[in-house]
């Protein structure tokens, strides 16, 4: 990943042609006047940290209980940060379009598609990925235990997402019916279609969670 895709071309980002750039400047000049035009040139650069809402690239993230300092691009998704900046490749990217659920992680205990979360929006929030589910001593989380016990999943590319979605759902409903659980984790696709066994495992996981 380029660390400096933005810094290379302030204002003239890759893909923004010079023609369009000039056009936009003219349009801006025409609509908001010269002072705004001058203002604009500064905010399109990097030198804008004093404006309200502006974003620093170097941020600290709370991931799996650790504080991790990361240089994050403005357009970087949480899945990218986890996988490519922090080496947490357990989080899978199946579609990158918030459709398959393979990238599901917990943000403040709530399941999110990390492919469709800007990393900058989770500053100060507690992120848990599949790597952070087991206890430090290696004891598996009840959901993981249930998967192992029931030999859940086949190719397992969807598994980390399913496990995180279940872990998140069980926090809101620790004693679900099979139907409630199915609805709760329905935002994850399994192309091997091992849904029935996954549900068996996750019902068992609910039991284990309650027992634990």
């Amino acid at each position: 990943m380029s660390q400096d895709g933005m810094a290379d071309a302030p204002g003239l980002q890759p893909g923004v042609s010079r023609r369009n750039f000039i056009k936009s400047v003219i349009a801006a000049g025409a609509t908001v006047g010269a002072s705004a035009y001058l203002f604009r040139t500064t905010i399109m650069g990097q030198n804008d940290s004093n404006l309200p809402g502006s974003v620093e690239r170097l941020i600290t993230l709370d991931i799996n209980g650790q504080q991790r300092r990361v240089d994050v691009l403005k357009n970087e998704t949480l899945a990218s940060t986890l996988r490519y900046k922090l080496g947490l490749t357990g989080t899978k990217i199946g579609c990158d379009r918030a459709e398959c659920g393979a990238c599901t992680v917990l943000v403040d205990d709530v399941p999110h598609y990390s492919c469709s979360v800007l990393t900058h929006t989770v500053r100060g929030k507690k992120i848990v990925s599949i790597e952070g589910l087991a206890k430090p001593d290696g004891t598996l989380h009840p959901v993981q235990q249930a998967v192992v016990a029931g030999q859940g999943f086949q190719c397992a590319f969807c598994m980390p997402g399913f496990v995180m979605a279940t872990a998140g759902f069980l926090k809101t409903n620790p004693n679900p019916s099979r139907e409630q659980l199915a609805h709760g984790i329905s935002g994850n696709l399994c192309r091997c279609a091992d849904y029935n066994k996954i549900l068996d495992c996750m019902m068992h996981a609910a039991e284990l969670s309650r027992g634990a």
């Binding site: 379009r97 030999q151 999943f153 029935n196």
Partner: protein, 890 residues
Amino acid sequence: MADSKPPYKLIGQNYTTPDLVAKVTGKARYAEDFRADGMVFVKLLLSPRPHARVVSVDASAALAMPGVHGILRASDFPAPPPPPGAPPRPAGAPGAPAPPAGAAPAGAPPAGGVAAPVAGAPVAAQSGAQRATPATAAANTTAAPPAGPPLAAEIALTDEPLYEGEPILAVCADSEELAADAIEKIHIEFEPLPFVIDPLESLRPGGPNGRTEGNVFAAPNMKTLKWTAADMAMIDQGKFPSGAEAIDNLSIGDIEKGFKEADLIIERDHQQQTTPHMPLESRTAMAFWKNGKLYLHGSTQSVARTVAALAGWVGIKQDELVLISEYTGGGFGSKIPGAQTMAIPALMSKKLQGRPVMMRISREEETYIGRTRPGYTGWVKMGFKKDGRVTAIDAFLIEQSGPYRRQGDNATTANLASLCYQVPNMRFRGISVATNTPPPTSQRAPGGLQAGVLFEPMISEAARKLGVDEVAIRKLNGPSGQAVFGLLPPLPPGAPVPANRPRQKVTSAFINEALDKGAAMFNWEERKKRSGQRVGSKITGVAVATGAYTAGSIGVDGLCIVQPDGKLIIHQGIGNLGTHSLSDTARVIAEMVNMPWEQCEVVWGDTSKGLPWSSIQAGSQTTYAHTRANYATGMDLRKKIQEIAAKDMGGKPEDYDMANAKVFRKGAPGGRSMTFGKVAERAIQLGGVYDGHEVPKELNAMTKGAAASLVGMGLMGVARDNLPRDGQTYSFLAAFAEVEVDVETGVYTIVDYLGVADVGTVMHPHSLGGQIHGGGIQGIGHVRSQKLVYDPHYGAALAKRLHHNKPPTMLDIPLKMEWAAVELPDPSNPIGAKGIGEPSIGGGGAVIMCALAAAVGDGVLRRTPVHPEMIATALANGGKPTYEPLTSFI
């Protein structure tokens, strides 16, 4: 060979597969999870046109960007491999003897839906045309004489894109962002060429041809076939012209006689959609070169059987390749020997002096290049006696064959009908039309899923019309024992008709037992009474259906080592695509030497670790093939342990038994014994056959190489599957389902599903259940929602997103599904096991079609996917189908 239920310790038990904890903790590394220092990225430039010639490429602006390292084009690939059609066909052609040892181990089963990579023809290996169905082979031998040069094989990049989204070039840069920006700076000029989306448009007089060489695949390449104006007039009225000209012709018996004997004839036009394989992990690959060797992290179904294909695509020798693929995120036929696109990072890395190159394939790219199951447009006529016996089938199936090769699913579909209904008189006619849509390849039960969806509703309809029970009619027609099946090519004109033209037979068929067991479990007699009953706005439909598919090949190798530390290391060339056959079949060796599973390790997924020659992980072959190979290997290991024990402790080898990693005199486990660790040490001292210095000549070269790399590590068990087999191995599934159809909206719910499998001995119940249900749900997905859609004017894909091509979700299937197995061993397998991956899918798709028909009426639903509006509008319209009956890709 095997008794009805031998007392196995491991086989048939649930256990935790050795990869599971890594998967559930996120430690399992798939191709995209690898990173290397200095790694750069490629992005693909995809064709915006469905068919065109690249006239010029101006990449100067892109290449001038700092951080852009280069581009790769079709011309950078090694010389085109041998054309498809040329290489020898493996086993299964009518009358062909068993394949010669060592040549091309029966990789492709007769009606099997899989490519069989054959050394020497690596690229063609992925080709569906390679699939040697008897029908394919036969049809090709009788088609028009060769005309024109052979068709160029598909390679990963092209200068004549044949479908929208086909990769034209790859750009390598420091980051994907940069590569993407660079691609936008490339200027390409195209010369547009005619294209075909709907096959029928191509058969229209004056209609377009999908390729410059023709519009239909006819061995050995292509020809142009146009139907008559009268045929097209029928199509314009929504009726399939069943008398039109075909390319492929196969038959058995006399269909005219068969229809004359029939008391009931049912005739149906039919449309099935093309669907993408869509594994959740795309065909991402990462490559680098070190010390003259290519290291490739890829996503492949098979490992051992990917090496030759990949080496061929890259243009290197097999021993110059290290393939690492320990985890594969699904394939369903689309990654049998990996994917051709894996060569892109490999060749790009070579250009960059070995620098690691990562090629991530996006979901959209996967939708384009990730392969498809071909849809059909067709027509079927079936004749039945009063008692339900099928007297004749006449089927005409046009296959949406994509641009590169004859896929041949349609012939497999016909072949399976001849097996499942034991039809005395049958004719199949087919055309594989070149369409400028993503290329098909085998998709889980290629032709098998389509067969169930096509024929089974007609069987149910006949049962209803004849007043015969739907289970009974299937038992009446179904195969049993070593049932004979298969269609034959027409004889040359004037040739004498031989008395007994050879057909095929199965090694076992227990579908009737599966139907009985299922009927009892499902409470069929009671539940079928509910079928067709309406409560409120909902009608219930209850149905049964059967499915069948190939379930095993023969002739592969096994390899294992007992180490001095007492561990049994089982080497598997099998890919880990999630079916668990990787470890399920490894357990056979442990079972043979009575070794606790905890003391066994499985080595897989990295060709530098010494992997034996294996079957492809496709065609539901692996379980059957590798229980046999590992049985042979386990017997070899057992024999060697006994021999060493006899050498050290006296007596004859056969006096020795073994348990808990010890060998001892039979009946005296508490007496004098040797630990396996000790046996391993002795093996190393003894050398020769014991530690791998000498291995059987009949082994595949890959196994020999693996053995050589492991020489002296311990006691080696190694063997080739030379066990006999009489017939082809098929597994069967009886599926039962109940649906609830809301007649006002057409929305339907699948309330219940039961799959009962004839898969011989159960190896691993958890896994078997997963396969029965997983296949069933994929069949359900085919029937209820999955599709690919193209804009006919631009030939461009529309259904590019998952919410467009609609794989089933957790809420589109029954909340709780059931399964069972008849557990009658296959007599041709020493363990009695057969495959299950593919037999499970056809029944699943078929039973939903049958249940919907039971609810809403016969003949209403003649195309898939069955969207709610098809039901609602047909019902509102007095049961008449109102959709476009013959249009593809909508």
